[in-house]
């Protein structure tokens, strides 16, 4: 286990340096700079801003000193678009909000998705299974901006139960968590259903049944455990995406998270903010995937840690 963790940490660090390098040079290749605006700056002032953000140095020197700042000092540098704020501050402030919403959606998805998948699998091919499967397909097919807009229309305007947007109370989280969580619940339900069905067909289940175990116990104790393997595998990357915020849902519900930075920071050529969110996302993705490996190993000892 220890060697696994160490090896994993090393590979995460390597991945992040690679992402850093690729992103650094790609961003510099994109036309237009962070300080281009309708109002053109006098050349002397443009030069002085460039110097302040060290954009006047040769590219490799910039790369080296930035790399050292990020990986040795953990300093993501000041943002270009939020003039008086550092990227560390921006992420520290916005990530917890995105993560809170993501976590709410995730919990909702798990508590809806796993039982629903199990219910569908228990009566394969019956009316209940068909109905649930159709619902899963529908929930997956409806784009989240449509779902979000429908939720606002129904539960803020027609039935004025929840605020339309904002982030100042728990009630503000209900609609966005639904918009984010329902498609995820459908995905989890489908995976659970498929996993459980596959498990039900395997010989050890037949053995369990032959030994006279009640059908409910077979389902809950044996089939579900094996059936959760694909769900847990899927949860790693899904978590990374959902915890760092959804562009669409955060935009529609005005959630002050970091979801929109993945797009706006690049559009604004906010090099440092774009780099910060990229590194965070990839770092989180790698760590969560490692966690998934460990939990798979715990759920099903046949899965080895490599």
């Amino acid at each position: 286990m220890l060697t696994y963790v160490l090896r994993k940490l090393l590979s995460v660090a390597l991945l992040l340096v690679l992402v850093f390098t690729g992103a650094f040079f790609l961003m510099r290749l994109a036309p237009g700079g962070p300080f281009d605006a309708e109002r053109a700056l006098p050349p002397a002032i443009e030069r002085s801003i460039a110097a302040r953000f060290q954009l006047d140095q040769p590219l490799l020197v910039q790369y080296g000193s930035y790399l050292a700042d990020v990986f040795l000092r953990g300093d993501l540098r000041p943002s270009f678009s939020y003039r008086d704020t550092s990227v560390n501050q921006i992420i520290a402030e916005t990530l917890p909000r995105s993560a809170a919403l993501g976590a709410a959606a995730l919990l909702l998805a798990l508590f809806l998705g796993v039982p629903a998948g199990l219910l569908a699998a228990a009566r394969r091919g019956h009316a209940r299974d068909l109905l649930l499967s159709a619902l899963f397909a529908l929930a997956l097919a409806v784009p989240n901006f449509v779902l979000a807009t429908l939720l606002v229309l129904l539960f803020s305007f027609v039935l004025p139960w929840f605020p339309v947007a904002g982030f100042s109370s728990l009630r503000h989280l209900v609609l966005p968590a639904l918009a984010l969580g329902v498609p995820l619940a459908a995905a989890i339900a489908r995976l659970t259903r498929a996993g459980v069905l596959e498990a039900l067909a395997s010989p050890y289940i037949r053995t369990a049944r032959a030994k006279g175990l009640a059908p409910g116990a077979v389902l809950a104790r044996h089939a579900l455990r094996a059936g959760l393997v694909p769900v847990v595998t899927y949860l790693g990357p899904a978590c990374a995406a959902i915890l760092t915020g959804s562009l669409v849902v955060e935009k529609i519900f005005a959630i002050p998270g970091m979801g929109s930075f993945f797009v706006t920071s690049v559009m604004n050529r906010d090099y440092t903010l774009a780099m910060g969110v990229l590194l965070l996302y990839f770092g989180l993705l790698a760590v969560l995937n490692a966690l998934v490996d460990v939990s798979l190993h715990l759920i099903d000892p046949r899965v080895e840690l490599q």
Binding site: E38, Y82, T94, A99, A100, P163, V164, L173, L298
Partner: protein
């Protein structure tokens, strides 16, 4: 593996999201007296760094310059200054500061504060977009460009309550410049102590009608009345929230459910349906939409081709059917309604004249005319304009202008490098004077971006800049504008409109050319 490890591990996996939820869950905030939606998230509250109109609103709520503009007449009113003496040659302003001008920590506002702040604005190291606006001050350009030391700038603070400014040429709109948000005073002690982080709510000290209570990134700024301010007793609203909302549709929803009292940026798709509502206010602002032509390459190097396109634009139809915020057809670059200036009349003649010009240039009926690209910023509402424009020009002249959307920064870069043929551009005026528009097309102006250079135009602007008599100055500027429109590196399309949805319970809201809405003047019924 002990049998308890597995459930424990699964529980741990559930605890991670639970912990994340508890750590980042919303903190409740008491409701503000008044809530409005910013058209764009505030990037900074530092007067020297702010650039957008909405950043200006916030800066002017927090800070007060020497003068402020009356929102109904745009006339300069004394603010931190009590009075001004102008020398006979029109070159020296002596501002007498008001004894009631105080910072939010109680310290008096002094001439030294203005001296420091204006030099900081001019200093290239500050990197302000608005530094060049103060280059009418003697020695300011030289200082900004590094050719002279700060001591050479014509600014002085001979007494704590006297701030003296020497100009290099008469500037009839200087008080309006002094009222610009970039010229507000800032505190040297804070900036020296905290650097860029001086604007954080627990550090910032300001001298305007409000102080900064809270700043949540991507969410809101909370402003609270500054009780130290000279007009605090007349300022009605105590707590104001300025929301940062990305989606215009969401902003409209917040207004419709009563969670916002004023929205300044509305979704284009909803505007038509909002027309006729008594709480929708439409007005034209000091901003012009126009076509830029890259005059360095054929066929647009031929002024006749540019004039033909200019004449063939169906401005009335664009304003009626495409733009929806109270835009007005434009035949000049400078919007009308600026005091003391009558904009130049653009080219006369209709479609027939346009066709004749095009034929004269060698493209009768559009035959042989190459397909051109119409560059525009990738934005829903701009795209509609580009498409309508392209369709009407094809119909009128038989020329094809293919809309070519580019991401905003790429669009700016393409123009800067003159890698375009025709582009949809716009300019928002900063102060109520024609120079805020006409300076744009000087040969060396960074925002010219057309390749058009005219020594005569530059000379007219220079003469106007040195002219002390307002009427003669206006005549010179008008000549320059006539030249610009005749030679046609641009074709004006419309004067921009501004839509504001303002709750009926709000009073004191005035619309004006500069889209200025001083928060201190608002009240609730």
């Amino acid at each position: 593996m002990p049998s308890l490890a597995r459930p424990a591990a699964l529980l741990l996996l559930l605890l991670v999201p639970l912990g994340a939820f508890l750590a980042g869950r919303p903190e409740p905030l008491p409701r503000a007296d008044f809530t409005f939606v910013l058209p764009k998230e505030n990037a900074t509250v530092d007067p020297a760094a702010a650039t957008s109109v909405a950043d200006g609103w916030i800066v002017q709520a927090l800070f007060e310059g020497l003068y402020r503009l009356d929102p109904s007449t745009l006339a300069p009113l004394p603010a931190a200054a009590e009075s001004t003496e102008l020398s006979a040659d029109g070159l020296t302003y002596a501002f007498r500061l008001s004894p009631r001008a105080r910072w939010s920590d109680g310290r008096p506002v002094t001439a030294g504060d203005f001296l420091y702040s204006w030099l900081r604005l001019l200093d290239a190291r500050t990197g302000s977009s608005y530094a060049s606006q103060l280059w009418v001050i003697a020695g300011a350009r030289e200082f900004s460009t590094g050719a002279a030391p700060a001591s050479a700038v014509g600014l002085a603070a001979p007494a704590p309550d006297t701030f003296v400014v020497h100009l290099c040429a008469p500037c009839p709109f200087f008080l309006a410049l002094a009222a610009h948000f970039s010229c507000a005073p800032v505190r040297q002690d804070l900036i020296e102590a905290y650097g860029d982080a001086w604007t954080e709510p627990d550090r910032i000290v300001s001298n305007g009608p409000y102080r900064l209570e809270l700043r949540r990134i991507r969410d809101r700024l909370r402003l609270v009345r500054n009780e130290q301010h000279a007009r605090a007793s007349a300022t009605r609203l105590r707590v104001i929230d300025a929301l940062a909302i990305d989606s215009k549709a969401t902003a409209l929803n917040l207004y419709l459910t009563g969670d916002a009292d004023w929205v300044n940026a509305l979704p284009a798709a909803s505007l038509r349906r909002l027309h006729g509502r008594p709480d929708l206010r439409l007005n034209t602002v000091l901003a012009t939409n126009f076509l830029r032509f890259n005059v360095t390459a054929p066929p647009l190097d031929d002024a006749r081709v540019r004039r033909a396109i200019d004449l063939a634009i169906d401005r009335e139809a664009l304003c009626r059917f495409v733009y929806q915020s109270g835009e007005a057809p434009a035949r000049s670059l400078v919007p009308p309604a600026l005091p003391g200036y009558v904009p130049a009349a653009g080219a006369a003649g209709g479609i027939e004249a346009a066709r004749a010009l095009l034929a004269e240039a060698g493209f009768p009926g559009g035959r042989g005319f190459p397909e051109l690209e119409l560059l525009h910023a990738a934005d829903e509402s701009v795209r509609a304009v580009a498409e309508a424009l392209s369709a009407t020009l094809q119909q009128a002249l038989g020329v094809r202008l293919r809309p070519a959307p580019q991401e905003f920064k790429v669009y700016l870069d393409s123009q800067k490098q003159l890698r375009y043929q025709v582009s949809l551009g716009m300019w928002i005026g900063d102060y109520p004077d024609p120079a805020t528009f006409l300076d744009l097309f000087a040969s060396d102006a960074g925002a010219n971006r057309t390749g058009w250079k005219s020594a005569r135009y530059d000379e007219l602007l220079r003469q106007a800049g040195a002219e002390g008599d307002p009427a003669r100055r206006a005549a010179l500027l008008r000549k320059a504008e006539e030249l610009l429109l005749r030679e046609g590196p641009i074709a004006p399309i419309c004067f921009r409109g501004q839509a504001n949805l303002v709750s009926p319970r709000v009073t004191g809201f005035t619309t004006n050319l500069l889209d200025l809405h001083p928060l201190e003047l608002l009240a609730l019924r």
